[in-house]
Symmetry: C3
């Protein structure tokens, strides 16, 4: 059994957006009881992560860490066509995930209690982001 | 054909734990000859990696690298509820993998000769860690 | 429906190699219309990424970033059996991906317009690299 559909999110600039609810709804709709849910983002300057979902400070710390590791406007970067957050967004995408794969059990996402699914927008302004969700199982 | 089961490991603090044998046994038990094996860890402060399995120095070097890149007790971090290794564990998890996807061929994991599957505990003390393993194929 | 086959690439030393065309051909050959394509590299010193496919400067910037983050011959590393690029290659592999999972839609890889699939050779000299490609779907 295979279920597939597109999702579209409007981001409001750099930051993490919890998409767990939308993914849960697609799994529910798919009718799959046991299997794998693949979430794929069709962009190279936004990514996906599984992150602690209780204390928002985790995600502000994560942002602070990325600011130090992959700063905007780094003199190292030559690809700056779309501004100082262009190449940093590509690097941040590559250091995180373009695709998440989550187990489906008893018709639901089998996440740990503290795990949330987040879309991470790496560009500083708003974007439309397209995701493809595919569920394979029985 | 879908086979799914839970695995539980007790870790003895920070470090890498080879779980290749346990994964191989589940694949064997599943009866799947050709397909995909997904290994998923249900936590945000421990992760999964594929790593060189011959020289243990590779993994001590990896630990030294992470100590420099994501140090415990970094003054950057505000999320310190559970101690100096709390936020560093979340960041290390996000820079590595929560989910590994491995090909199944001839009823076995189709790894390279030097690839081992490791659970990486990022917290400094002992934890129980839950994994979900799903095998899809024929 | 499951389709699986091996791919072999000869790399010409460190750098990124676009393998999108070869992956597209395997998906086409598989006959799968809707599903998941898993690409797996059977090595611990070369990896896979999805990266911007238009401006080659993105990939030279990426190389410059990795040179700063995980330099060859770092005095931190003790695993130097195969030279100064041995341990740095293992770390770079772990910070990126050994496995990519891509949606298949209408019999084709459902990538974003700017996404290319790259094999990233992390060793400085030539290697033969083996990949396993598995497509599951209907």
């Amino acid at each position: 059994m295979v279920h597939q559909q597109q999702l579209r999110f409007s981001t409001d600039g750099r930051g993490t957006y919890n998409i767990s609810k939308q993914i849960g709804e697609i799994i529910n709709k798919s009718g799959v009881q046991t299997g794998i849910c693949q979430i794929f983002i069709q962009h190279t300057s936004a990514s996906l992560i599984l992150c602690e979902n209780a204390d928002p400070t985790v995600r502000t710390d994560l942002d602070a860490f990325m600011k130090r590791l992959v700063p905007d406007g780094d003199s190292l970067f030559k690809h700056t066509d779309e501004g100082p957050d262009d190449m940093s967004a590509h690097v941040r995408t590559i250091l995180t995930e373009s695709s998440l794969s989550i187990p489906v059990h008893d018709g639901r996402e089998n996440l740990g209690i503290w795990q949330g699914i987040y879309l991470w927008e790496h560009r500083t302004h708003s974007f439309k982001r397209n995701l493809s969700v595919t569920i394979v199982g029985e």
